[in-house]
């Protein structure tokens, strides 16, 4: 019985999370239109908001390149991300960078040079 129930409950939690996160993000955008724009001149919130974006994206790069559940795993993702960094350095577009990274990892796995 539990085996039948569980995927259903998971499905509900995924939907709730999707909707909750989406609604909060939409509300954040609307919130910006509701507060007086002179608050924009306040330096500290503006600076923290910028750095917050940087920190979260950088942390996601690290976790996405090295994390495997609760372990650190160096695999085909690392050379792929290095290639991506090189392409970004050469001012290539988002799509080129992402496709190239996928291709590097896929080829390395295909020929067996990396897991």
């Amino acid at each position: 019985m539990r085996c039948v129930e569980r995927p259903e409950r998971d499905e509900v939690s995924v939907w709730s999370a999707v909707l909750l996160a989406a609604c909060i993000c939409a509300a954040l955008k609307a919130f910006g239109y509701l507060i007086p724009s002179r608050l924009l001149e306040a330096e500290r919130p503006a600076r923290i908001s910028d750095l917050l974006t940087v920190a979260l994206l950088a942390a996601l790069v690290a976790v996405q390149s090295l994390g495997a559940g609760q372990a650190i795993l160096v695999d085909a993702r690392v050379p792929a991300v290095l290639v991506a960094a090189g392409l970004l350095w050469m001012r290539q577009s988002f799509l080129v960078v992402v496709v190239a990274a996928a291709a590097v990892a896929a080829v390395l796995r295909l020929v067996g040079w990396a897991v």
């Binding site: 910006g32 979260l56 950088a58 942390a59 996601l60 790069v61 996405q64 960094a85």
Partner: protein, 257 residues
């Protein structure tokens, strides 16, 4: 920045037409990577509908990628962290809304519509225009263009991801890492940002074996709050969001021309 880029074109083409061209260029370039979002979202465990709802309702690329990134790494147990990561990355849209609010003008529906399409790209195109009327035009064309394009390509990517099979054999896990790096890259102009980025990455990696998936990313965000609060390594004159935005949009524009 803008004057350097546009002096040539501005002489011969009418300003409004130039704004149309810029906006559509940015919209097409941005929409193209909705394909990667759609495919990665399905690979992370969402179904096609959930993927499309994220693009329709959340509609802010960084948060969408964060949500599926954390979900993919940690599964159902990481859902609270996935929500928190997406929300924290969406905080910058408050600043964009405040910036756009006086330009958009009055009227509930107009402002509600504008709020939903307030993202990096539409704000960037708007604030790089010389006159308020051109800002408005650029904002609406870019925002609506990305909204339509991004949702169509998300659907296409999700359907594609559904038939791909094992995401790792296609390198989609590496593509997700590269996507975050590409979103981060244009923001690494100032020393303070670079230091925060490196520190956050180190903190997140170091905490990965110790904490539940998703939490290391949130703890790493504390680095930003602490450094930002005390303004360590900061410059005294700040021109952060606008500068980053206009550079970002301009590089997109150059690529599409």
């Amino acid at each position: 920045m803008r004057s350097v880029d546009r002096t040539g074109a501005a002489v011969s083409v009418s300003p409004a037409r130039e704004v149309w061209r810029e906006s559509l260029g940015v919209a097409i370039a941005t929409s193209a990577y909705g394909i990667s979002f759609g495919a990665l979202a399905v690979a992370s465990g969402l179904d096609v509908w959930q993927t499309c709802v994220l693009s329709l309702l959340m509609f802010t690329g960084g948060s969408q990628f964060a949500f599926i990134g954390v979900l993919g790494a940690g599964g159902i147990a990481a859902l609270p962290s996935a929500i928190a990561s997406a929300v924290l990355l969406g905080v910058r849209n408050i600043a964009y809304g405040m910036r756009m609010s006086p330009i958009i003008g009055e009227g509930f529906w107009r402002r509600a519509g504008a709020a939903q399409i307030t993202i990096d790209e539409s704000t960037a195109v708007a604030i790089s225009q010389p006159a308020p009327s051109l800002s408005r035009l650029g904002f609406w064309i870019t925002g609506l263009g990305v909204f339509v394009g991004w949702n169509l390509t998300t659907l296409a990517g999700a359907l594609l991801g559904d038939v791909l099979g094992d995401p790792r054999s296609w390198g989609l896990d590496a593509a997700a890492a590269a996507a975050f790096l590409a979103l981060l890259w244009p923001r690494l102009k100032q020393r303070q940002a670079i230091v925060v980025g490196v520190a956050a990455a180190v903190v997140a990696a170091a905490l990965t074996p110790v904490l539940m998936p998703g939490l290391p990313v949130l703890v790493a965000a504390v680095v930003a709050i602490v450094v930002g609060w005390f303004n360590w390594l900061g410059r005294n004159d700040i021109a952060p969001a606008d500068e980053v935005l206009s550079c970002d949009a301009l590089s997109d524009r150059r690529e599409t021309k």
